[in-house]
């Protein structure tokens, strides 16, 4: 069966180091971190990635009050993506648009706030907000976009831990191919820095980053890495079938060439290099490519001791014999944006199709020999010989792996 080709025609984002693709990209090429110290409830100052977009650009104050941070992030990204896409929204059939957003988790923030709130009133549940349920339903971020843009097509989230950003795009491509929608808003979002529980759990696990300088706290592949910097953020793309995009003369960022989602089935939190390599290989095969055709591998590595090593093992296994592949990491700049990570990290690399520059992995002062993968781009950007295919890894707890490949658009 001949499948429709799916292309990216717009994107909107908010990252800890940029609220637009040009700003984000510029900071990735010039080594500007977006990690800062924030006060986390019960835990004090922690390094975190904080986004500084203006929610009132696209929302009323009342909607910000009633909604969630994830909702505001989603609306900001979706509106920016729509504007970037050039779609004539007034004339568009809103019932043929879909919203597919990856999330690592949703509801922790709002639940913690409510529990804290009633603790101020002797835990009297009469003080529990009636807004709690609409704020915590898992479809909240997508639903808020639907309300804001008047989209009456499908709007839901995909829960896939930290693989979720890629899954938003993959699922959207599938829905476009099935003919379920004509325009997809797809990507991932996270509001996780507002929940102390995520920080506390990583701390208990021995996987929460700390460093006297917050901009140096996220250091994948470095020997002195000590864990994850939790971040918020979002990135939403507009995806369309190629023929629709060409018919309206849309700008095309790239094409969804291939993907794979699989599961380790081995552990709740520990990654599995064998399954990761399998996921990467299957995505490359799905794209009709070979490992030598991949020009950039954007790693998932989160700066945990084991996770980075496991992913490096998987990459070495797949890309041995591919001397020109470039391997980088975006979390070293922005921390781990959880459900947004896959989508945001891909966005940071898409301009490479045009400028052939590969943004580096920063904060690698002392490369861990177990992460010394040929092709790693360390601390300074590098000019690539060719950028025709970008491979984006995102892995998550409970052993979910996702690999997405975007190729240079060619008619």
């Amino acid at each position: 069966m001949k499948q429709s080709r799916i292309v990216i025609t717009g994107l909107g984002l908010t990252a800890p180091n940029g609220n637009s693709l040009p700003e984000f990209r510029q900071n990735l090429l010039t080594g500007v971190s977006g990690v800062e110290l924030i006060e986390v409830r019960y835990m004090g100052a922690q390094p975190a990635g904080v986004c500084h977009f203006d929610p009132l650009k696209y929302q009323k104050k009342k909607d910000v009050r009633i909604g969630t941070r994830a909702g505001s992030i989603s609306i900001h990204c979706a509106r920016e993506a729509l504007a970037d896409s050039g779609v004539n929204w007034e004339a568009a059939d809103k019932s043929r648009a879909g919203i597919y957003l990856g999330i690592t988790e949703h509801g922790n923030v709002e639940t913690e706030h409510e529990i804290y709130n009633i603790s101020l009133f002797k835990h009297d549940t009469r003080f529990w907000s009636h807004h709690h349920n609409p704020r915590t339903v898992a479809n909240n971020p997508a639903g808020e976009v639907s309300l804001n843009l008047g989209i009456t097509g499908p709007a839901y989230t995909l829960g896939a831990a930290c693989a979720a950003g890629n899954l938003g795009l993959i699922h959207a491509a599938q829905m476009l191919r099935l003919g379920e929608v004509d325009l997809a808003f797809a990507g991932g979002v996270s509001e996780s820095i507002q929940t102390f529980g995520i920080f506390a759990a990583f701390k208990s696990q021995g996987a929460l980053a700390s460093h006297p300088d917050p901009t140096k706290a996220s250091r994948p592949f470095d020997r002195r890495r000590n864990g994850i910097v939790v971040s918020e953020g979002g990135c939403i793309y507009t995806l369309e079938r190629l023929e629709d995009a060409l018919a309206r003369g849309a700008k095309i960022y790239g094409e969804v060439a291939g993907y794979c989602v699989n599961s380790d089935a081995t552990d709740y939190v520990l990654p599995n290099a064998v399954r990761q390599a399998e996921c990467i290989r299957k995505a490359i095969a799905h794209a009709g490519l070979t490992p030598a055709d991949i020009d950039i591998v954007n790693t998932h590595a989160t700066a945990t001791l084991q996770g980075d090593i496991q992913e490096c093992q998987a990459i070495v296994e797949v890309f041995a014999g591919c001397p020109d592949v470039n391997i980088n990491n975006t979390k070293s700049f922005i921390g781990h944006a959880m459900g947004a990570a896959g989508a945001l990290e891909l966005a940071g690399n898409l301009p490479s199709f045009n400028d052939l520059m590969v943004h580096p992995t920063i904060n690698v002062d002392d490369l861990d020999p177990q992460c010394d993968v040929p092709g790693l781009v360390l601390n300074q950007p590098k000019k690539a010989k060719r950028v025709d295919a970008i491979l984006n890894n995102s892995f998550g707890m409970l052993g979910i792996n996702s690999t997405l490949i975007i190729s240079r658009h060619r008619t």
């Binding site: 104050k61 009633i66 907000s129």
Partner: protein, 87 residues
């Protein structure tokens, strides 16, 4: 507490519940819903804020008493004064 003071407290709450609204020309005798974009969830917010900020409980059967600023003042002022007398 006077009825005007009570109205001021209610307007303070509404300012937080409906932050986009201009409250400078509110007519006390006209239903709040006819002057402002308030829905049933917003009225629940008003009830919640009365409880949180002032310890005033409004039973569901009495929500209708919150229709206008005047009716709010008629209904809530005695409650505020009774509470003040207790404390």
């Amino acid at each position: 507490m006077t009825k005007d003071e009570c109205k001021k407290l209610v307007v303070d709450i509404i300012a937080d519940i409906a932050p986009d609204e201009d409250l400078s020309h509110l007519k006390p005798e006209v239903r709040l819903r006819d002057q402002l974009q308030l829905d049933s969830m917003d009225f629940l917010d008003i009830v919640m804020e009365l409880r949180k900020r002032h310890g005033i409980e409004v039973p569901e059967a009495d929500y209708i008493q919150l229709a206008s600023l005047d009716s709010c003042a008629d209904y809530l002022t005695p409650k505020f004064n009774a509470l003040a007398a207790k404390t």
